[in-house]
């Protein structure tokens, strides 16, 4: 029993070390020799443009459900006019970044892991290396750059869709006035909330892209191995995103409180 735990711990340490080295290699390779525009364009299209549909659906449905729940809960206490603010705050600070990251991980991250994993088990990665091409630079760097660029855009879009979904249900189903829905937003939503949203989106993209690519590069054992690696990559990405979300929320809010305190 103890031996097994020791073995798992050792494997986890090795995997973490390899993961950190892979990220360092990608950063190094990207700075020294940026990926070709053709490769970047493919990934911008794949991660960004092709994700718009799922992100639209996710944002809209989350906003609609959130607005409905908020309206029912708040109207009892005579606070129905805060529905819009509730939806906007939740979408900007939490649900927008997290749910967008989840959806894009499911759509793009799993495909990335499966593609790279298949290349690994069919020796295509070895073929790249044998032609003196760094696989981290050729395969991972374009995805990394495209992910960091597109995820904040997708998150902002998803958040806007969420607020819009909330508006539809609040104003056209529950009969709230549009002004009541939107009025509290500029007063209570600060640039800090927007920055939090963007920082989370960028960090979540780093997490899911590096985890999924890393798992792909380490896939072994044929089709079954690729399937296993893909499942693991998505599960690990989700867990890491949730942990990072908690830590970021605490850290960013602490920093913000410090700044506010200093200003006073």
């Amino acid at each position: 029993m103890f031996g097994k735990i020791k073995s798992y711990f050792f494997k986890a340490c090795v995997a973490t070390g390899e993961y950190v080295v892979a990220i360092a290699d990608v950063c190094n390779a990207t700075i020294k020799r940026p990926p070709k525009w053709r490769l970047l364009r493919e990934q911008f299209f794949n991660i960004g443009v092709l994700s718009f549909f799922v992100v639209t659906i996710t944002g809209l449905s989350t906003g609609i459900v959130l607005a409905a729940q908020s309206f029912y809960q708040l109207s009892d206490k005579g606070l129905a006019s805060l529905t819009g603010l509730m939806v906007a705050k939740a979408m900007i600070a939490e649900l927008g970044p997290v749910l967008t990251a989840f959806m894009v991980t499911g759509r793009v991250g799993s495909a990335m892991c499966a593609e790279i994993g298949t290349m690994k088990v069919t020796e295509q990665i070895d073929a790249l290396k044998s032609m003196a091409v760094n696989p981290n630079s050729y395969l991972m760097a374009p995805r990394f750059i495209a992910g960091i660029t597109m995820m904040p855009i997708l998150t902002i879009y998803s958040t806007i869709m969420g607020i819009f979904g909330g508006y539809i249900i609040s104003c056209h189903f529950f009969g709230m006035a549009s002004s009541d829905y939107f009025y509290p937003m500029p007063q209570h939503i600060t640039m800090f909330d927007v920055h939090t949203c963007l920082i989370k989106a960028a960090l979540f993209s780093v997490i899911f892209i590096t985890v999924c690519c890393y798992k792909g590069f380490n896939a072994k054992g044929g089709a079954a191995g690729v399937g296993k690696a893909t499942t693991e990559s998505v599960v690990i990405s989700y867990i890491c995103i949730l942990i990072a979300d908690f830590l970021l929320t605490i850290a960013l809010n602490s920093i913000y409180q410090e700044i506010l305190f200093d200003r006073r």
Binding site: T122, E123, S130, A132
Partner: protein, 256 residues
Amino acid sequence: MIKIVDLWKTYGSNEVLKGITLTINKGEILVILGKSGVGKSVLLKHIMGLELPDKGDVEIEGVKIFGLEKPELYQVQKNMGMLFQGAALFDSMDIGTNTAFYLENHHNPKTHKSFSSQEIQKRVTNALNMVGLKDVAHKMPSELSGGMKKRAALARLIVYRPSILLYDEPTTGLDPLTAQQINELILATQKELNGTSVIVTHDIHSAMYLADRIALCDEGQIKHIAKPMDFLKIDHPMINFLKKSAFLQGEKRCQQ
């Protein structure tokens, strides 16, 4: 010249290479013969620098490749090419793009500039002509047969003219006619590039046809190495078995 010195490799509890020492002379074709799972492909990957050994070293033209930084290793690898067992064509690209891959990702060593599109086109056409695949440049790897994939992978090597060529079971899984076509192509490539070739196989016919020397790999070691006709005279259970299966079977059938 390729020099392999006391190479050891273990995967988990499985000792695959157990102190292999071997020298491959410049311009020769060395065939490494052996059963499946004795470490032939692993040895080839070590020569290419794709795997790190537990112990030992590989010298390519006097340069020890293990311990080199990535950019230096890439410089060594630019003079080497490997034909993989399953061809390892990039399945997201058509055959033309696969063949042009090296040229599109590296500079011309003479001019230190990117290869021009005309140069790339010319070299790709020549390479595909050489392997008899000039009409399939627009096809995807999934649309080709096993033999055609191997030929396309060979074209991908020929196009950048490496001086060291490594072949991992080039004729495995092919019918005898296609296998012979691949053998002819390997000889033609050797003649064209005037390089050093290492071929890993368990096909005695190909070994006898191609080799300047044949090495027998068994239990993670090189047991014997000799010129083809001398190789057949060696008294080793595996060589005896191969001789029987290759020649006597054919003879018996002819007599019948």
